[in-house]
Symmetry: C2
Subunit: 497 residues, 2 copies
């Protein structure tokens, strides 16, 4: 029996090592690869993906998993690993290789078409490609779960959560956010001013400050790197977790919050159990929980008043003379301007969820076949008007703005808002456990926060599904109340509602 | 038949793609990997090596190769690919996996022991590790070629060349070099002065100059990168070929010649046939030929007088005020000082070969079992005295200086001198084809040199063995005369012999 467990462990660890290699190929491509290396890189990525898939589907792994599962009497960790491997195999075996290949090719073509269509503001040119991706995605989803295809997609990112769970949750977020926005629109307080963030901030000093911040958060730079890329991201795990950010010399917020956000992701990966990070159930719990870690640091810590009591003086030292006239209160308000806008990745803390929910509602209809591709831009614009009271002047700033759908990432968007919800609920619990949190933040003490997240979230990996993890950590199922309550209180105070 | 060829091609291309991935892992580890990532990287490297080995040994590849080989009537390229694959498989199949694993482990331990022994100047502590590596290397070599084990090792780096070929060749180099050194020692010319290379050269300007030089050589930086590392190297192929160098702010020569050297290697990889670079016989011919390309640029071009007629003014502009007093003649002499020294990697153009031949003679005896490990330091020092007229004060500057033996790289050293010999013989032919080469160099025209190497050497890959390639390019078998004649003429003139 022990030799069986040992072999099973070897096999899943190797599968993990292959995925680490895939991550490195991706990091290299985004950060340092010479441009002409793309064709060779495409082949390298393909062979790693194929090897990963082959090993997951291998009969040896399958036989061992079934044998151990049937034997019973295993510890909780191993049971969770078996659960993960059996589920991943089931998904892989239900979808024909040919369909996987056709869908991958359709996505590659769709992404090229999307880039061009966005450049030309030509949605009709992109439509047939998107149609093909949606059709093949639906075919794949139906092969996995014929009754609830969207759940099959969601399951890849947020295991244990269904469309039926999401709909009421996200509708409540939507309605309370729209109501909050209405109140903010009617506010009679003085208009907020973020122009202090748009002064001249030399990029090298921004980089120094970003390094200081992520190090203070507890990000171990001997087990990671901070680089630049077009879109900020985190890649890697455990002792090689790399983050990127982007800099704008006339906007302090861009690099600042991207760095905090990515370092939040990185702390999760660096905080996994050293004995378990290569195991299927030792990996991070879900995309929603991953996003909760980045949002936790970015918004609940990084956009809080006490945090800037400590860091505004550091910022002033970093940019001599640039922010001398700015008070903590002015800075706090500048980084918390709420203003409905067109682009998701530029949205503020309140309106961000509306961008996400709009996409969730549309993709849910697309996958169900209830919304035709030709009607998508109109549906987009209508929801923008209804949720945010604004409409894009063209499809570039509307339905063509995100890469996700062309890349076949259906079921991914809702994890962004789940992240916000989990983050706020965890934060509520953290405040109970550390009643003097604000005082600590005001002294720049971030270590207790990291330690709390390490022990309550990170080290548990995906031993439990996200919803169960939330119940265990906070004592309650996931609810919109902590997040919406936090937003209503915070912005109610800022806007004098 | 065509489908058989197609499948055979697919299989060997995938093996190549895996080796590209291995190269990237190595580059990343040397240039950007966070220090704590080493353990994960070790596993990633191991799984890629194992996959490479498994695929090479696979029955499918073997059966296809034998079937195609037996069928005959194939074109020259495919015959060469079959030759390469059959040979690589034969080697892989003759060596038991267990021996491969034991030897790999012994090398890993020996490298750690070597690093420590070098630090402590404690050869006896390293001895047993080296003994183990030598024993297992001999066992492996005998499994491949029981009659001529050293040839089995050499064959991995310099296919088609034997110890019996090398011995007379390298003895002639040794004897003519020792004689040349004697004449230089007796020279009555004014002593050469390289202090002008040891002024203050800001590293950022050195880097700018290195980039300018390698770009002028024709190195495509859109298909490569220039970075820093502890030891300069080149990794990658075709459209992703990365070079590194190292900088010393008070020594201009270090980064300068390392950059030219590595760019010479890189031009070879970038110059491979676009249709063939993933094929076994489309890869570079041998280590000796590879080294000929780096030495060609470093010494025959980069240490020539006409090259600096063009580049010294550029250098003066790059370091304003630092070299104003230096003439082309003084600079030429400063970069061509001949001075017997203890460390191979710091040796000049003449004495370098003696460092190599010393190692070749010793490792040949070690592998044959005619030299005991305990006697190695003494044998080393004796040869140093006899070849170079100097002896190391300790083993750190003697037998412990190189990583090669601890890494199991026996049969590798001679390729360095073969590189010098091939380079000079190619250079002689280039001068016949381009009689106005010096005038072109004096105008900074490097493109015709690259074009000549591309068409005569690079694009042929390893269709022919190194010796045959040399005959085809120069019309003659490899000889020591071009190289020794070049050195005798050049240094005869410099030292007024």
């Amino acid at each position: 029996m022990n030799s069986r467990i040992q072999r099973f462990t070897e096999l899943f660890c190797e599968i993990h090592d292959l995925s680490e290699i895939g991550g490195l190929l991706e990091w290299d491509q985004s950060v340092v690869m010479p441009p002409k290396g793309a064709i060779q890189r495409g082949r390298q990525t393909a062979i790693i993906a194929r090897l990963h898939h082959e090993r997951l589907k291998s009969a040896e792994l399958g036989d061992l998993a079934e044998e151990l599962w049937a034997a019973g009497g295993l510890d909780e960790e191993l049971r969770a690993d078996l659960r993960e491997i059996r589920r991943a195999r089931e998904r892989a075996l239900k979808v024909p290789d040919d369909l996987v290949a056709r869908r991958a090719e359709a996505c590659t073509l769709a992404q090229v078409a999307w880039e061009k269509a966005r450049e030309d503001d030509d949605f009709p040119a992109f439509g047939p490609h998107l149609q093909e991706v949606v059709s093949l995605t639906r075919e794949m989803a139906e092969a996995i779960n014929g009754d609830q295809p969207y759940d099959a997609l969601l399951d890849d990112y947020e295991q244990g959560t269904t469309e039926a769970d999401l709909k009421p949750l996200l509708s409540r977020v939507r309605d309370r956010t729209v109501a909050l926005l209405d109140r903010i629109r009617g506010s009679v307080a003085a208009p907020l001013d973020r122009s202090i963030l748009e002064r001249a901030f030399p990029v090298s000093a921004q980089e120094a400050f970003a390094r200081r911040l992520v190090t203070d958060m507890g990000y171990d730079t001997d087990a990671g790197r901070l680089d630049r890329s077009v879109h900020p991201f985190t890649i890697g795990t455990f002792r090689d977790v790399r983050i990127t950010t982007r800099y704008d010399g006339s906007n302090l917020a861009t690099a600042l919050f991207a760095s905090i956000h990515e370092a939040g992701h990185a702390l999760y990966e660096q905080g996994l159990d050293a004995e378990r990070y290569r195991a299927p159930a030792g990996r991070p719990c879900s995309l929603g929980i991953h996003e909760s870690q980045s949002r936790f640091w970015e918004n609940l810590v990084g956009r809080s008043r006490p945090f800037w009591r400590h860091y505004l003086p550091v910022l002033k030292e970093t940019f001599p003379g640039v922010l001398d006239d700015v008070s903590v209160e002015e800075f706090y308000r500048a980084i918390n301007v709420c203003e409905p806008s067109l682009i998701r990745v530029e949205a503020d803390e309140i309106t961000y969820n509306l961008h996400v929910i709009l996409r969730f509602e549309l993709e849910s209809e697309l996958v169900a076949g209830r919304l035709a591709i030709a009607d998508l831009p109109g549906a987009w614009n209508q929801k923008m008007a209804s949720f945010l009271g604004t409409q894009p002047p063209d499809n570039r700033k509307g339905v063509l703005q995100d890469v996700h759908w062309s890349a076949g990432l259906f079921g991914y968007f809702p994890t962004y808002t789940l992240g916000n919800l989990y983050a706020a609920q965890f934060h509520e619990k953290l405040r109970e456990d550390l009643p003097d949190l604000d005082d600590r933040l005001g002294r720049g003490e971030l270590a207790p926060i990291k330690a709390w997240l390490n022990s309550h979230i990170h080290r548990h990996g995906r031993l439990h599904f996200a919803g169960d993890l939330c119940r265990r950590v906070t004592g309650r199922p996931l609810s919109v109340d902590p997040s919406m309550g936090y937003l209503e209180d915070k912005f109610g105070e800022i806007y004098g509602l």
